[in-house]
Subunit: 318 residues, 2 copies
């Protein structure tokens, strides 16, 4: 529904060449500098979940949007919308989480705003973050640069964030507590850039997960992607939780994973680099001739179209 | 309360030299460019009011924060937090208002995000906007540059925005409908800069109005301000509404007015320029020797301290 809203209402109304890029962040030029800017509203419930909280999520989510454009994140601004009666201790915890996460990534929170709304007019805390990054490597990781023959690399195991938030929210107890994968991916992207790997396109696996991202990119690039289900890294507890809940792990959101398109000959170098970050990165498929669509070679040996997930399987996970 | 929150929680936690400037926007450098960035959450109720709406308010509010740093606004990003059931027609109206306002100012909306929350977890629509501007004139309109002898200029009549929103919200009927002053002040600031007027400091008269801004700047600059009440431009309907409601017009928020500090010899030029924008600009007082504080010479001839407004007189007006 949000996707429709964006397409039908916002894009025509605010039509301009930058917004039309349809990228995670907008690429702009000021003087001689090429930069990326982005904004994200965070309404996750609960605000504290295994492996993270709304503060860490906001910083990472914004930084990741910049990283997906190949931009080094420099500055953040943050707006807090607080519901009257929101616990000060919880606010302190969130602010501390913003501070620590920003510090780890080396990004500086330079501007902020706080608004308080009456009880019943909010939901504790909404946190909106905007980010500014600088593009220094001269790569253009855009859908239009995806080429036939490109390998499709996933940076690590998928689906943890969605399951972590859902479990906490619904009070589900699985054998193993699944921790969110929420993390800043810039250090990983920077490493790949520094290694000189030609990143044709990148996208983080947020809302709608891998299935959604691949479908969007296939459509935007006008290419066909062939993916092998067995090669998609998913940890056992996520698989088990998805089975119990009747969810498809391929459409569960991550907050610290991305997909990257690159020439086949660079995949070994990329996978090795990503594994050094402790990530179970994997080549999951290739770009083929043909028009936009995603084909999944299933574990059972059949081939089927991997559809765009319909509707929002998991609301308010970011 | 918000002021306390910022001072006690956010500043120490996110401590860094840029945030500590305590400016309307943060001044940063990327490459050779000096820029300003800012973020504002808008929770105004009602979202449509005489003279404007949340969309125009968001664009102007953000652009004005940039202008107060002497920055030419270039790019905006916008995040919409929608409550389930919010009327599509109203959303279209707001987006159209964002579009028109941005176009008039010459600023481009390059990035956006939309989140939908359940009924009862929001209040129709919250709109957060972040802005990026470039500083080309090399002026530093900061509190520390306020000098003894500086004239204090108000760009136009004050208090309309607060009264417009309050009247609409409370269903008050005054003889004359007061329209909000919501407007982008960048064209006016740019004019003053192009005229070569040394703007020692600027601040827009938002939350807490003139009284709040003058107190903050007196404190930050360590100077004393002497203001003549008679010289503060206020239209009759605002005066009348304030009298009926028991409010002090000096502490009512505007969304299209600012105060500027400049050497006395430039005031005629500044006032003339501002009047060309149809604004009833006025020199309202001067900076004097002495430590932080604001003295008001009242209409009745007495002198009193103009206090920082206590508490939030009018909640959710921006």
């Amino acid at each position: 529904m949000t996707q429709n809203l964006i397409e039908e209402l916002f894009k025509p109304a605010l039509n301009n060449p930058v917004l039309s890029q349809g990228h995670d962040a907008a690429i702009i030029s000021v003087g001689n500098c090429q930069m990326a800017i982005t904004i994200d509203a965070h309404v996750v419930r609960p605000i504290f979940f295994p492996g993270g909280d709304i503060g860490k999520l906001a910083v990472c989510g914004t930084v990741n949007d910049l990283a997906m454009c190949g931009a080094k994140p420099l500055y953040l601004s943050a707006a807090f919308i607080l519901e009257e009666g929101f616990k000060m201790a919880d606010l302190c915890r969130v602010v501390e989480s913003v501070r620590i996460t920003a510090k780890q990534i080396g990004v500086v929170v330079v501007a902020g705003d706080t608004k308080v709304v009456e009880r019943g007019k909010g939901d504790g805390l909404y946190l909106v973050t905007a980010g500014l990054g600088v593009i220094e490597h001269g790569v253009e990781p855009l859908p239009k640069n995806i080429q036939v023959g490109d390998a499709i690399v996933v940076s690590g195991d998928i689906g943890r964030h969605g399951i972590a938030v859902l479990s906490e929210r619904e009070g589900l107890n699985f054998e193993t507590v699944v921790e969110s994968d929420v993390d800043a991916v810039w250090p990983q992207v920077e490493r790949l850039l520094n290694l000189g790997i030609p990143l044709h396109c990148m996208r983080d696996l947020t809302r709608g997960g891998l299935a959604s991202v691949l479908n969007e990119l296939a459509l935007a690039s006008g290419k066909k992607f062939e993916i092998q289900e067995d090669l998609v890294p998913i940890i056992e507890p996520v698989k088990a939780a998805c089975e119990i809940l009747g969810l498809d792990p391929l459409s569960i959101a991550c907050e610290g994973r991305f997909v990257a398109f690159m020439p086949k000959e660079f995949t070994e170098m990329a996978i090795t680099a990503l594994k050094e970050f402790g990530l179970n990165a994997s080549v999951i498929g290739f770009v083929k001739e043909g028009s936009g669509g995603v084909i999944l070679q299933t574990s059972s040996g059949t081939r089927r179209i991997l559809e765009m997930p319909l509707g929002v399987e998991l609301p308010r996970i970011c």
